[in-house]
Structure formats: C-alpha cells, structure tokens
Symmetry: C2
Subunit: 120 residues, 2 copies
C-alpha cells in the first residue's frame, strides 16, 4: 500500500510524461504535508483505494487533483468512494483553474485543472 | 442563436440518445426559468458561445451541467469563457452528484454528474 501511495503523491511519476520535464523545473517544491492524490492514467479504482486508505489511516481531509480529461475520473473517484466505501464522505470544496504549461519547444498550452477536497 | 440555445436547454434533444427515453419518464418537469446549459457531444466552443450569449443577454448567473466524460468539457467551457471572453466571470458553485439511470432493460447504472454555477 505504501508503494501505491508513494506513486500517487509523487508528481514526478504520477503525471503524464509529456509535461514531466517542464513541471519539474517550473513547480515550487511540494509541501511534504500535502497529501494530494494526483489522478493519472490508472483505473479509477486505484485512486478510490488510495482515498479510502488515507481516511482509514486517520486523515480528516483528502484532496484529489486532476487535469484535462482526467477531471471526470477525479469526480468518479469521489463518488465511488462516497457511495461504496465512506457514506459520511463530504465534498468540502471544488476548485477549478487553468494551468499554463510550457512545452520543451517553448509553446505555451493551457489545460483545465480541478482540485476536490473531501472530508468526513 | 435562438435555435442553438433552444437545443442546449432542451433535455430531450441535448442529452445523449441512449438515456433519452428513461429521462423523459423519470425526471420531474423542468422549471421554465431553469436556464442550465447541458454539455453534450458538440465542441466545447459551442457551449462557450452559449454561456457568453447568456451573460451578454443580461443573465447574472449561468449554469452548465454535464455527466460522465463530458464533465471535463464542462470545466473547459467555464475556463475558456473566463479566460477568453469574460474576465470577470466567477465560479460561484460546483456541485458533484451521482445520477442513477435505469436503462430500457431495467438495469440500473450510476453516472457522475456535475453542475457548475457561474456569475460575473
């Protein structure tokens, strides 16, 4: 389980590869207390498991974050976690933003981003 | 323009066909003052145009609603509307729910649903 969590919380491995290099140089160092789960290309159930595990380990608040097409998967993850595993789960906040990414050849592209904060 | 708006706000034509019959019988009659824009299979720009038109016509609040994979398109629509057309646009509220649909053969399926309320 710890291996899975490790992967989900580490942006260098959890994000899609095309932006990896860019993000490594652009983003500020991640807060070690930031337990955000990044939604990537795995099945939704993998992320549901990560969310449920966090709550079971005593976290009062869990965040999932996704970009682009993965946003709908993030929503599925929160709904599956709530409907099947944690009936008391509440959606505390939903944040919608646009992230600007610079690709290796210097072109800038925008992608929608969503962060969902859950508590129970 | 009125023809486009008509289509967006009419659930019988705006939704995907597989669920059409089910929804017609299950959902309560729609409030005629409900100006929700339903995100379907068109390009995001069609819905952006609908949102911008609503605000330009004097609406203070515009909602977009989407289900399943279309949720990420709904988020794109709000971000494009804000970044390119209405800088003062604010995301007032984001509602995440699960809708239960009964197909013609009686099976029940769940789909994530999202409603985003914008104002300016």
């Amino acid at each position: 389980m710890s291996e899975l969590n490790q992967e989900e919380t580490n942006p260098q491995t959890a994000r899609e590869s095309p932006h990896r290099q860019t993000e490594r140089t652009q983003l500020p160092p991640r807060d070690p207390n930031d337990h955000t789960i990044y939604i990537g290309k795995k099945l939704a159930m993998s992320y549901v498991l990560a969310v449920v595990t966090r709550f079971n380990n005593g976290d009062n608040e869990v965040k999932v974050k996704a970009r682009g097409r993965n946003i709908s998967v993030a929503v599925d993850v929160t709904q599956i976690a709530k409907n099947r595993f944690i009936p008391t789960l509440k959606i505390k906040n939903v944040e919608i933003t646009t992230e600007e990414l610079t690709s290796d050849d210097g072109r800038m592209s925008r992608v929608s981003s969503m962060e969902i904060t859950m508590n129970k």
